[in-house]
């Protein structure tokens, strides 16, 4: 019997006001696996990430962690389970320096005061393992380049020793070299046994890195693929809706009449 997935979603729904953003979402993420989450703009990818990370909790449905149901209502819940998130808009505090951002919300203290020296030492150590060009640790993050900011954001998510990492478009703003660096990094994290949920528009990245791909369309599941066997055309047509799940949709609409 295969081990229970690290993270599983069943029938997850999310509404914003009158808009159904996510409907009956199913998803399974295993340890040591990169699952790509694909979909056109507005398909609900970022919302799904927010549901899993506790920023925008699900309205309906169950989330299972290693086979047992859990509730994720706040970012804190997700974090204590071992889910770390790197958001598309990075969610860094521009006015704080790199060290301040890395340790935001889990500062190291010494005699009750912030231990800047120890935090800076660990930041340096952590960043040295991730990237070659370490940014100025004491400059405000708003003054860094977007690639450096991405590195800081990923580094921050790794501080809590997570078991699941959610990456929302990690390479969208990066140059070729930096993209390769980030992809290598994700590869290494998979080898360490992390489950990675990778949102990307770049099918090249997905093909190169992911094991499986889940496609969302208009807030619903629209197919699962084994990236190694599925063709690019199959995946794209699933994203654009050329192979929409027609019978189910028809039935749904008929029910509404």
């Amino acid at each position: 019997m295969p081990a229970a997935p690290l993270l599983a979603l069943h029938g997850v729904c999310k509404r914003f006001g009158v808009v159904d953003v996510l409907t009956d979402i199913e998803l399974e993420l295993h340890a040591g696996q990169v699952l790509a989450l694909l979909g056109d703009n507005g398909a609900g990818k970022s919302t799904l990430v927010k549901v899993i990370s506790g920023v925008a909790p699900a309205d309906k449905g169950t989330i299972e962690w290693e086979g047992r149901p859990v509730h994720i209502r706040r970012p804190h819940d997700a974090r204590s389970l071992g889910i770390a998130t790197v958001y598309q808009d990075l969610a860094l505090c521009g006015n704080l320096d790199v060290v301040g951002n890395l340790f935001l919300g889990r500062e190291i203290r010494r005699f009750g005061f912030l231990d800047e020296v120890e935090m800076e030492r660990r930041s340096r150590h952590l960043l040295e393992g991730l990237t070659r060009g370490i940014p100025d640790l004491r400059g405000p993050v708003v003054s860094l380049s977007s690639g450096q900011r991405q590195t800081v954001a990923i580094a921050r998510s790794l501080l809590g020793e997570p078991r699941v990492l959610l990456l929302d478009e990690p390479t969208a703003a990066l140059g070729i070299e930096q993209t390769t660096e980030v992809l290598d990094l994700v590869d290494r994290l998979r080898d360490r046994g992390l489950g990675v949920l990778l949102i990307s528009h770049n099918l090249g990245d997905v093909k190169a890195l992911a094991d499986r791909a889940a496609v969302l369309r208009l807030g619903r599941n629209n197919g699962f693929f084994d990236v190694n066997t599925a063709s690019q055309e199959q995946i794209i047509s699933s994203i654009t809706g050329a192979t929409e799940n027609v019978p189910r949709r028809m039935a749904h609409q008929e029910a509404g009449w």
Binding site: L104, F113, E120, L137, L144, R149
Partner: protein
Amino acid sequence: MADHTRAESSAPTAEAPRPHRMRAVTQALDGCTAVFRHKLRAGELGSLPVILVLAVVWITFQSLNANFLSPRNLSNLSVDIVGTGLIAVGIVFVLLLGELDLSVGSISGLAAAVFAVLNVNQGVPEWLALIVAVLTGTLAGTIQGFSFARIRVPAFVVTLAGLLTWNGVMLAILGTSGTVNLDENGIVAKLTSYYFTNHAAAYGLAALGTGMVFVGSYLERRRRKGVGMPYRSLRGIAARTAVLAVITFAAAYVLNRFQGLPLALLIFLVVVAGLDIVLRRTHYGRQVYALGGGVEAARRASLSVLRVQTAVLAVSGTMAALGGLFLASRITSVSQGSGSGPLLVNAIAAAVIGGTSLFGGRGTTWSAVLGILVIQSIASGMALTDTPTAVQLVITGGVLFAAVVIDSLSRRSQEAHGRA
């Protein structure tokens, strides 16, 4: 904090061969201007502009009236800044969130009225009335903070309602009597009238302050060196401490030539230094800065936004109450006009002129000290030179405007810097 590691970037040049003394000097100058230009472009000027403004103000008034820089006037100045200065320190906390507190004037008047009525009219012991008055400010701030954080409306709206409400409460407490005169020999009156006439007090404070800064930087240097991280050169630490020592001992000398160290100034400096440590060295302070950098980012880092926002307005209310007591102490009376007039505007202006950003996330409590020093210097100089109030308002307004322009320019250049 930001320039901690920057100092050592210039250290390696010391090992370069020294061909000519003149050339070395020009090189050093070039280095300085390069660093300055870098900071200018990166929008990290800090308190430099306000120090320049202060210098201009002092030089101008000294040339207009020779009494301006006299020990007597400077000593009075150092007491006059305390009331509004304490309020401005609270405003710094609120500005760090990127919000505004408009109620501090009313709260300061309310606290003074609570004290006066309890102590003078009801005969409550002075220390108890003092504590109740300060806690009144804390309570008022907490109520406003909680509503602001809960309803998620801009703080200026909630505190605008507070401005009216607390003013009404104050008028109700004071009743028809209008003005209450405080005990001339009581604790509160002593707050601004007591001086440590012993010369050792002022010099001791200067030595203590300088010594603590030196020991602090030295210990940090040793620890950084121990774990193999970049550290400051001893020469850099010594230079900074020396500058600080010159300023503090000069101030102590001037104060001792009049009546010695004023108690009010001592309290002010201790409060400002203490809150500076709270902001820059504690978990709580880091959360305040983080909220100013982005509420959403802070929330995702699982900070308790509600608690921090409430606490910040509570601090601001407490500081307003403290400031109000000092203001009442200065005139030993509380009246229906307490906490009104230009007080609110001056407190906010002081924080902004001192270099605290209106956009949130940048600034320290020391900026309140520098800012109120500028404002009060202008007021004092205008009084000495018999200039009409109209001119004083225009000049203070001009300085405030310049501060806001610098603030927004440095913010923009900081962001542009990242794109390069």
